[in-house]
């Protein structure tokens, strides 16, 4: 069975350990959600999977369909099918969305094969319509001067165009009003597929009303401390995270 | 705070008096090897210093005036009409009472003894070519801090003096550093032993009393590992008919982890050519900060520098210049990065009033293969009158991918609306101007010691009142 498996992962930033023995399996076709208090290491986990150079993996494995991806450069992982929707997407001045995505889509084509322009734009416009994005966006620089909601829509647009095997959505709901949340969630739900696994990282239960996960995990201090069905989100919403941390207080980060 | 004015005497009019001269030693007018030999003989210096001076004279004579970039006003300097050494012939005294009466009166009028009692750890006063009074608090002396005149130091502490002297600023650095190296006399020598943190500032006071005279003091400060020091200097001269020259060389050495703050309030009378070379070397994790305020002089050319020689060394120049009628303040900073992770910061604010001209000149250099170096430079100029002038001439060199520099400069005026607003609230135009100008430099003035910052504000008030109408 195809899945993204994280096995006893330990990761540091500098000397400080942030991920402290985390294990998780995201099956193709399933949506997992990770919830947890601020500073529990949720965003770090997403960056470690994507291969951010600031983090060092000290032990453990991340296997994509059986292949360990930890030794790979970030772009190689991305081409293999890992997609990260950033919590704070970078502004890329002077590079239009159209050129940016063309470069990203072309990078996935077999050697010597050229992107067919008409087809590309047709697909791009289709996905933009899905996310209710105005076509004028294609000529704008990536994320430059975008509102919070526009940035998040742009992330989902990229996911739609790049069709990853495994997508990690880091706090995709943060900074969104209800309308934007509805549009973004719709975009994500359309991309649900038996061939794709997803990991939602969120602080609030709200997102999970729109994108209903199959499994919920609670992360505290660099580890998964509890997993359960979607109803677990409601319990967390009413009780908060404190009851989970009584034994092991979360470090102030 | 009203009486700080009388005590600190940064007001130019307060310094505008002189006493009749009766120098026992006078090298006469002009500059030849004979002048040098005369100075070396009078001072009873060792041969290596005499040779150093004679070599420097050659360098001085061989170098052209730097008018390919600097102002042509330098050409009005008549080196043959200057007297290069004037002294009474006594050794500096540690007791105020022993200072000759006319000099004592001079420094008392300038408020030196009061200041010493108030907040200084040590003070030195130079009258024309030689220090006449030098005192250091007993407690500081017992910690091993040496604070004395350069003339004394090169004889009493040759092993420390010779090791560092002329190493930060070589003789040939520029025409005026060569001139100073040939005829230097007076200035401070400070050595702070490892780990000693001098709590109160040390201060020197420089006074030119004679017409057609050039003052060439030489200051050398060494802060040994982990030590800390603040040094302050002030300068005045009476306004003579003819131009006077002040050309100092100041060398600072901050060894590993040491911190030096060097504060200058320059208030020479408006016919002094003030051509000064100031530079420090900051070793690993050391910090050198120049806080420089130029209000007086006809022409000042001064670009305090820091050579960031050790890893994580820090350099900073905070500069305020006020150029009024007929003045040219040509000031700036030099930051030479020579080790990884060194940082430098330059903040310069200038005000040009009347026909005054303020110039910023800067150099930032981050050479090959250094990593993690940063420079930030900000230059702001304020123009007061239609005839005022301001210029900015920075040069920034960056090599490689690990470093970042940022330079920003702006020029602005005080808006007529702003002045009107304050006038409508009942302030005179002059008061409104003063308030605005003080607002412009406020963040920098706060970096000066309290006693100085109050005085600076008052000086700006005076200058502004004069520039209106």
């Amino acid at each position: 069975m195809k899945s993204l498996v994280i096995k006893d992962l330990h990761a540091n930033i500098g000397e400080r350990e942030i991920i402290k023995g985390l294990s998780l399996e995201i099956e193709c076709g399933k949506i997992h959600a990770i919830m947890g208090p601020n500073g529990s290491g949720k965003s770090t986990l997403s960056k470690v999977i994507a291969g951010h150079p600031d983090y060092t993996v000290t032990s453990g494995e991340v296997l994509m369909d059986g292949e360990n991806i930890l030794g790979m450069a970030p772009d190689e992982r991305a081409r293999k099918g890992i997609f990260l929707a950033f919590q704070y997407p970078m502004e890329v001045p002077g590079v239009t969305i159209a050129n940016f995505l063309r470069a990203a889509v072309s990078a996935r084509l077999p050697e010597g094969e050229e992107l067919e322009a008409t087809e590309y734009y047709q697909r791009l416009y289709e996905k933009m319509d899905l996310l209710e994005m105005d076509r004028s966006f294609t000529a704008r620089s990536v994320n430059e001067g975008f509102s919070g909601g526009e940035k998040k829509r742009c992330e989902i647009l990229q996911m739609a165009m790049l069709e990853p095997k495994y997508a990690i959505l880091d706090e995709t709901d943060s900074g969104l009003d209800i309308d934007a949340l509805r549009i973004v969630s719709h975009g994500v739900n359309v991309l649900r597929s038996p061939d794709r696994g997803m990991l939602l990282i969120t602080h609030y239960q709200r997102l999970l009303d729109y994108i209903v996960p199959d499994v919920i995990h609670v992360m505290v201090a660099g580890k998964i401390v509890m997993s359960g069905p979607k109803e677990l989100a409601l319990e967390l919403e009413s009780k908060g995270y404190d009851w989970l941390t009584e034994e092991e207080p979360a470090p102030a980060v | 705070m009203s009486d700080t004015k009388a005590e600190l005497n940064l007001d130019r009019s307060v310094g505008d008096f002189s006493y009749p001269e009766h120098h026992a030693f006078d090298a006469g007018y002009g500059l030849t090897p004979d002048t040098i030999n005369y100075i070396a003989d009078v001072k009873g210096e060792p041969d290596w210093i005499r040779e150093f001076r004679l070599k420097a004279l050659d360098v001085f004579l061989s170098k052209p005036l730097p008018t390919h970039w600097a102002t042509k006003d330098l050409e009005t300097l008549e080196f043959e009409k200057i007297r290069y050494y004037l002294a009474h012939g006594q050794r500096p005294t540690r007791s105020w009472e022993e200072v000759p009466e006319d000099m004592k009166q001079t420094f008392e009028r300038l408020g030196i003894p009061e200041q010493e009692r108030k907040f200084l750890a040590g003070v030195e006063a130079q009258f024309d070519s030689e220090a006449v009074y030098s005192n250091i608090q007993k407690a500081i002396g017992e910690q091993g801090v040496i604070f004395t005149g350069s003339t004394e130091a090169l004889i009493k502490y040759p092993e420390i003096f010779r090791k560092w002297f002329g190493k930060v600023i070589p003789t040939g650095d520029n025409k005026f550093s060569a001139l100073n190296s040939a005829v230097f006399s007076g200035g401070s020598f400070i050595y702070v032993p490892p780990g000693v943190k001098v709590k109160h500032p040390l201060q020197a006071y420089f006074r030119i009393n004679a017409e057609n005279f050039g003052q060439f003091e030489r200051t050398l400060i060494i802060a040994d590992e982990g030590s800390e020091l603040m040094y302050m200097e002030g300068c005045t001269a009476p306004k003579f008919e003819t131009a006077t020259l002040h050309s100092a060389v100041v060398e600072l050495v901050a060894l590993k982890g040491a911190k030096i703050q060097y504060v200058t309030v320059q208030n020479w009378s408006s016919n002094v050519f003030n051509l000064v070379t100031k530079r420090g070397v900051a070793h690993e994790d050391a910090e050198i900060k120049w806080i420089d305020c130029n209000i007086g002089s006809r022409l000042t050319m001064k670009y305090p520098g820091v050579v960031l020689k050790g890893r994580k060394a820090r350099g900073e120049v905070i500069s305020i210049a006020l150029a009024s009628n007929g003045q040219h303040q040509d000031t700036g900073a030099k930051m030479i990065h020579a080790a990884d992770e060194t940082t430098s910061n330059i903040v310069s604010k200038s005000i040009s009033a009347g026909t005054g001209r303020a110039t910023y000149r800067g150099q930032v250099h981050i050479p090959k293969h250094l990593k993690g170096c940063k420079n930030n430079t900000e230059c702001d100029a304020l123009l007061i009158n239609p005839d005022s002038r301001t210029d900015t001439y920075p040069a920034v060199t960056v090599r490689g991918t690990g470093n970042a520099t940022q330079h920003e400069a702006s020029v602005s005026q005080i808006s007529a609306e702003q002045i009107f607003y304050m006038q409508q609230r009942g302030l005179t135009e002059g008061q409104a101007m003063s308030l605005s100008v003080n607002g412009f430099v406020n963040d920098l003035v706060r970096q000066f010691p309290m006693e100085y910052s109050v005085e600076l504000k008052r000086l700006i008030d005076l200058e502004m009142e004069g520039s209106v109408g």
């Binding site: 990078a107 | 920075p394 490689g400 330079h407």
Partner: protein
């Protein structure tokens, strides 16, 4: 008495004499600070351009510019190969567009007034004299009052052969309320041939007129190139210029803009892609002579390999040029450990009620930005290339012509090896 022409032998002999008598720039010349003046040795090159050998049609064929233009002139080794006027109505409106030497003979009074009338205020007096002694041809464009030419006019200058020289010249007069866009392409025919190019531009923008001027400098990588541009901007006029610097071993560009009328505006833009051991030496002058004018300069340099750039810019607000707004920005993006960027942004303000600022930054690609692209599966090389193009794009976009921007993008991508 007839007016002497630049083609007259006595005029050229006098210029030659001046070239010989003026000293070579040296180490102590402020106008040449940071420059390696040894790079200026002109002795290896032909004194006058040697004619092209072989079929001239190959240059015409390679002169691929925009799809839609108002006209196109093609020169190789200072020899006119082709002149196409695509809009016949222009001549009827009084537009004069001719090779320089022909125009000079027909309109000597215009040349007497405008040809090299402002010298070389930024240090290249000597090389301006060389240009005056050696210039054979170039472009003359006169746009009468009120005439608007919508499509760009393109001029191609090729330099072919080993150790050859070229002295291209553009003299453009845009009369009041006229409008025109001119693009000069300077290209080396053989990528590794050494050569000398000393070019000169006189651009006059009359009251209320609008000029867009673009120069694509793509000489061969062994060329010594010196280019002097003088622009004069009248009241309420607008001059926008963009230099795209790609070629040459040592390229000196001196661009001066004089604002002589109230309400005038000058936009000075430049993008440079420096690689290998290339040196780009850029000197600029925003000279505010009239009150109430506006100037804005943006220079962007991307440096790879062991390349060096030197930027020395001066905003001068002359006495009485009150209410001036003047801005100047240089941005250096360093892509390698051996690249070196020198910035000397300068201000001289002698007037009142002035708003002026300048800024210079040097830095590198932000690691977070790079990671964002990597995380989308774009390879490191491509990601860097995209980010560099994006960095330069800001200046290109300001010319406000998408078709031209696209063309320039294409030419630049060729240098990136894409």
């Amino acid at each position: 008495m007839s007016i002497p022409l630049f083609t007259d032998e006595p005029v050229r002999a006098a210029a030659r004499q001046l070239f010989k008598s003026l000293p070579m720039p040296g180490r102590l010349d402020e106008a040449w600070r940071f420059a390696d003046t040894k790079a200026l040795d002109m002795s290896p090159f032909e004194a006058m351009p040697a004619p092209i050998d072989g079929d001239p049609a190959r240059f015409v064929k390679r002169s691929r510019g925009l799809t839609e233009t108002a006209g196109k002139m093609i020169f190789a080794n200072d020899q006119l190969l082709s002149r196409e006027v695509l809009d016949a109505s222009l001549a009827q409106k009084g537009v004069i567009w001719k090779p320089l030497e022909i125009a000079a003979a027909e309109h000597p009074e215009l040349f007497a007034k405008h040809f090299m009338a402002h010298g070389a205020p930024l240090g290249s007096e000597k090389f301006a004299a060389l240009h005056a002694a050696s210039v054979k041809t170039g472009t003359f464009l006169y746009v009468p009052r009120g005439v608007e030419i919508d499509l760009p006019i393109e001029v191609f200058h090729w330099l072919s052969g080993e150790k050859n020289s070229s002295f291209p010249h553009t003299l453009l007069i845009a009369e009041a309320n006229s409008k025109v866009t001119l693009v000069d392409y300077f290209t080396g025919a053989q990528p590794d041939a050494s050569g000398l190019a000393v070019g000169f531009n006189d651009l006059y923008v009359g009251e209320g007129a609008q000029l867009n001027y673009v120069c694509v400098q793509n000489w061969s990588l062994q060329t010594l190139a010196i280019q002097v541009n003088n622009t004069v901007v009248g009241a309420n006029a607008s001059a926008k210029s963009l230099n795209v610097n790609l070629g040459a071993r040592y390229a000196r560009n001196e661009s001066a803009s004089q604002l002589i009328g109230e309400g005038g505006r000058s936009d000075m833009l430049s993008v440079t892609v420096a690689d290998g051991d290339q040196v780009f030496d850029q000197r600029t002058f925003q000279d505010h002579l009239a009150p109430g004018a506006f100037s804005d300069l943006l220079y962007k340099n991307a440096l790879d390999g062991g390349a060096r750039t030197i930027f020395a810019g001066m905003i001068k607000v002359e006495p009485d040029a009150h209410r001036t707004d003047a801005y100047q920005k240089v941005r250096n993006l360093l892509l390698s450990d051996n690249a070196e960027a020198n910035s000397m942004p300068g201000l001289e303000i002698l007037a009142d009620e002035v708003r002026c600022s300048h800024g210079a930054t040097s830095g590198q690609i932000e690691p977070e930005e790079l990671f964002y692209l990597l995380a989308r599966g774009i390879s490191k090389n491509n990601a860097q290339r995209l980010l560099v193009q994006g960095f330069l794009q800001e200046a290109i976009d300001r010319i406000g012509n998408p078709a031209l921007a696209e063309k320039l993008g294409e030419i630049m991508r060729a240098k990136f090896g894409n």
